[in-house]
């Protein structure tokens, strides 16, 4: 169910950001979603297809989803760790860290329009 809400939020967000005239020329939306975002790309694609049933205006707009892995950067030694098994601990100095630098994103990171 929350994928439907997320698709609605994406479209509402785009409507806040761009003029309708520009949105009419939109042809692709690129998302970047982290592994920690609780977004499953396949389910989001399904929810996006379902969205077009009630909102046919955007049916030609293609949705691209890029998933990102989880990384933290230690605040003390600056080392970047690939987080495995949700263990948020620097693998250089073994200090815990909440400084997530990748993997939490829920971003609309590119929008393409017809010229």
């Amino acid at each position: 169910m929350h994928e439907t809400s997320i698709v609605n939020s994406i479209m509402r967000t785009l409507e806040m950001e761009f003029e309708q005239e520009k949105l009419n020329k939109m042809k692709a939306i690129h998302l970047k979603v982290g592994i920690l975002s609780n977004i499953e790309p396949r389910l989001l694609h399904n929810a996006y297809s379902a969205y077009h049933i009630t909102n046919p205006g955007y049916h030609h707009v293609v949705l691209h989803i890029e998933s990102t892995e989880l990384k933290i950067q230690c605040e003390v030694c600056n080392h970047i760790t690939d987080v495995k098994n949700y263990r948020f601990i620097c693998d250089n100095c073994e200090r815990p860290s909440k400084n997530v630098i990748q993997g939490e994103e829920m971003l609309i990171h590119k929008v393409e329009f017809d010229d």
Binding site: M1, H2, S5, I6, S9, I10, R12, T13, M16, E17, K25, K27, L31, L36, S37, N38, N85, Y86, R87, F88, I89, P96, S97, K98, V100, E104, M106, L107, I108, H109, K110, V111, E112, F113, D114, D115
Partner: protein, 233 residues
């Protein structure tokens, strides 16, 4: 066979806007409005999350019973259907409002904002949002809360923090609930705390039972202290 190279320019051009917009920006925009409303009335807003059946409503009842004479408090409670939880909380003598999501598995900032005018905020010190029972989706939606508190019932098994990491990463406190059942269950408070703190080393952990009242005084003290801090700012 040679393939003739095309010398024609590509037909049609595309314009690209590189953005970095949070895709829940529409939700977060409303969450900010809620934060401002709460700041204006000095109301502490606490978002209570957990799986279904971990004891959120019972904790709301017990908290109301203990604190209603010290603090003005109210609850908004989200469920897919029925008014049952709000009725249970109202029986304790405090104001509770049911938000029926009609099938949606979480509360969004817009749903909270829509019912805010039902609450006499300037006269409320502590407002709880009892979220829909679910450790997945509610983790993604900021409701403008000051604190997020997640209940982790001993009956659920001690492996949840690593299974639902975002909820524990975004929480300020984990309440290990139904602690009175610990003698009968293969549940390790030490293991769940270790896993939860590997996800979020700043997470506060408290063991409680709404039935035996274990940890309830500490929980209420924590709330009173946070209300005071909010009112001082």
């Amino acid at each position: 066979m040679s393939i003739e190279k095309s010398t024609k320019a590509a037909r049609g051009t595309a314009q690209c806007e590189n953005t970095n917009i949070n895709l829940l920006k529409a939700n977060d925009f409303v969450a900010d409005i809620i934060k401002k409303e709460m700041a204006k009335s000095n109301t502490l807003l606490v978002n209570i999350t957990s799986s279904a059946g971990s004891g959120k409503t019972t904790l709301m009842q017990k908290t109301a019973e203990k604190l209603k004479d010290k603090l003005n408090m109210a609850v908004m409670v989200g469920d897919l259907e029925t008014e049952r939880d709000a009725e249970r909380i109202r029986e304790t003598g405090i104001f509770a409002l049911q938000i029926v999501t009609g099938g949606i598995c979480h509360l969004e900032a817009q749903m909270i904002h829509q019912v805010l005018d039902q609450f006499d905020l300037p006269n409320i010190d502590l407002l709880f949002i009892e979220n829909v029972g679910n450790l997945v989706c509610p983790a993604s939606f900021d409701l403008g809360e000051d604190y997020r508190v997640t209940l982790m019932a001993t009956t659920e098994g001690d492996d949840k923090p690593k299974k639902y990491p975002r909820m524990f990463l975004t929480s300020d406190m984990m309440l290990v609930s139904k602690a009175d059942l610990l003698p009968y269950l293969p549940f390790s408070v030490e293991a769940v705390t270790k896993d939860a703190r590997e996800v979020n080393h700043e997470l506060e952990v408290l063991q409680i039972s709404s039935l035996s009242e274990e940890g309830i005084d500490e929980w209420c003290d924590w709330l009173v202290q946070k209300v005071k801090q909010k009112q001082q700012t």
